[in-house]
Amino acid sequence: MTPLISPSTSNRAAKVMLWVSASISILTLLFILGYIVVQGLSVLTLSFLLESPRLSGAEGGILPAIVGTFCLMLVTLLSAVPIGIGAAIYLAEYAHEGAVTRIISFGVECLAGIPSIVIGLFGYAFLAIYLGFGFSILSGGLALMFMILPWIVRVSEESLKAVPGGLREASFALGATKWQTVSRVVLPTAIPGITTGVILGIGKAIGETAVIMFTAGSSLLMPTSLFDPVRALPYHLYILASEGISDKMAYGSSVVLLVMVLVINLAAVAIQRHYGRHHVRN
C-alpha cells in the first residue's frame, strides 16, 4: 500500500510546521518586549528612576515604587528562604517516604495551585487585619512568601535529592552525625541549585500584583518602616493604566519591571554556569 503522502513530503512538512511554531513563540516575545520598550522609552530618564511621582503618577518618577518593590522582596526572601529550605531538608533528608511525606508534598502542591488573588485575600484577612500588620511592607512581603514558598520547597528538595548518595555515605563512614552530614556536605553541595530556584522564585514574586494590592497598600510615599504601606511597581502600573492616569508612565514602569526580572533571571543563569563547573561528577 502506498501512503497518501510520501515520507519525504511529510518530513519536509513537519520541519516547516515546527519552524513556524518556534518562530511564533520567539516573535511573540520579541513583539511584546519591543512594543513596551518603544512605548515606554519616551519617559525613561534618570529623573524617572530617581524622583517621586507627582499628580498620582501622571508626572515625576517612580522611585518610591522601586524602593517599595525592593523592600517587599527583602521581606519575602528573608522569610521564604529559611522556612522553605528547612521544609525541604526535612522532606528530603529526615522524613521517611510514606503517608506523612505524601501529605506534606500534596499540601505544598496545593499551596502552589492557589490563585494569587486568593492568597492576597487571605493575606489581607490574616496578616493585615487579624495580626494587625495593616497595609504594610510586612504584610505584603509575608503574603508573597506564602506564594513562592511551595516553589522554593520544591526546588530545594529536588536539589537536595540530586546530591549523590555516596557523599552521605562517605560522611557517615567518617563518624559524622546526620545533622553534620546534612549541614556540612549535603546542603553546601545543593546550594547552587537552591540559589537558582530562590532567585527564580523572587522573579515570580516581583511581578505579582494580586497578592500585594490587598496587603502592601498603594501609598506613593517613601516607606520608613516595615509597617509602612508601599506601592509595588506592578501595582503602580496597574493603577496608572486602569485609572487612565498615564499610559506613557505605565509603559515606562513596565520597562523598569521587565529589566528587573531580566536581571534576576540572568543572575540565576550566571550562578548555574559558575557552579556547573565545580559540580560533582557521577
Binding site: 555515605e169 562517605a170 567518617l174 563518624g175 556540612r184 560533582v280
Partner: protein
C-alpha cells in the same frame, strides 16, 4: 597468630524478607589483611557494610547474630554507630570526595569530631596525605577542588580522609573497581603498607588482587561463607570444590 579484632558469629541479615547473609562465622585478625571474594550478589559487600553499621541506613534491613569488635557486640544496645565509625573507617567502590578543597576533604573527619586548632589540622592533613602516598602530588595544591583530581588520586584522597580520623580498622569495598591498572597498583601498594598499622578488610571481585594483598581470604557464595583460611591455602589447596571452581575462573 595475632589477636582477633573483628569476629562475626552466626550473623544473619535480611533485606525485607530476602535473606542476604546466612550464619556468617569468621574472625578477622588484627593488623592483617582479610579479603572477601565471591561472585556478584554473594553478600560480600553486605557483610563488610555490617562491620561499620552502614546497613543501619538501609530501610527494612534486619540483623541477628553477633558481630564483635574488640570483644563488644557492635549491634548491642550500648553501642553508638557514630562513635563506632570513628574507629572503623571505610573506603568505597566509587571514589566519593566531597565537592570541596583537598584540604577540607581530609580535615572533614577531625573537624566533625570537634578539632578546631589550625596547626593541629595542618599536621593531620599532611600526615594523612603522606600516609596515603598523595602528598607528593597534591602537597602544594591543597586549596584546589578535590573534584579536579584523577580517579586514582580521588580514591587515595578518600583513603587519606579515612586515615585522618585515626581509625583502627579500614574497610575497603571494591576500592579499585573504578580504577585503571596503574592506579590499582598504587592502592594495592598502599594497602600493603597500611596493614602494619591497621586491620584491613577488603572486598574484591578481582582474585589476583585478593591473592596479592591479603593474608586471609573468605569465599562467599549466595550469602554463605563457603571457606575461610590463609590466602595461600584458599588459592592453592582449597577444601571445597566451589572455592576451587571460583578461584580457577570456572564460574563467577
Amino acid at each position: 597468630m595475632s589477636e582477633i579484632e573483628i569476629e562475626s558469629r552466626n550473623l544473619d541479615l535480611w533485606y525485607g524478607s530476602a535473606q542476604a547473609l546466612k550464619a556468617i562465622t569468621m574472625a578477622m585478625p588484627e593488623k592483617k589483611v582479610t579479603a572477601i571474594i565471591g561472585p556478584s550478589g554473594c553478600g560480600k559487600s553486605t557483610f563488610i557494610r555490617c562491620i561499620n553499621r552502614m546497613n543501619d541506613l538501609v530501610k527494612d534491613c534486619r540483623i541477628t547474630g553477633e558481630l564483635l569488635f574488640e570483644g563488644t557486640n557492635i549491634y548491642g544496645n550500648s553501642v553508638d554507630a557514630v562513635e563506632l565509625r570513628k574507629k572503623i573507617g571505610m573506603v568505597f567502590q566509587k571514589p566519593n570526595p566531597f565537592p570541596m578543597s583537598i584540604y577540607d576533604n581530609v580535615a572533614y573527619g577531625p573537624r566533625v569530631h570537634g578539632l578546631r586548632n589550625r596547626e593541629e589540622l595542618d599536621r593531620i592533613v599532611e600526615e594523612s596525605l603522606k600516609a596515603s602516598a598523595l602528598w607528593n602530588e597534591v602537597g602544594d595544591i591543597l586549596d584546589r577542588s578535590a573534584i579536579d583530581l584523577s580517579g586514582g588520586q580521588q580514591q587515595r584522597l578518600c583513603i587519606a580522609r579515612t586515615l585522618a580520623v585515626k581509625p583502627k580498622v579500614i574497610l575497603f569495598d571494591e576500592p579499585c573497581s573504578a580504577l585503571d591498572p596503574i592506579s590499582t597498583a598504587k592502592i594495592e601498594d598502599l594497602i600493603n603498607t597500611l596493614k602494619h598499622d591497621y586491620t584491613i578488610v577488603i572486598v574484591t571481585h578481582n582474585m589476583q588482587q585478593a591473592a596479592r594483598v591479603s593474608d586471609h581470604t573468605a569465599f562467599f557464595l549466595l550469602g554463605e561463607l563457603v571457606e575461610f583460611g590463609k590466602t595461600k591455602q584458599i588459592f592453592e589447596l582449597p577444601e571445597k570444590k566451589s572455592t576451587e571452581d571460583y578461584t580457577t575462573g570456572r564460574f563467577g
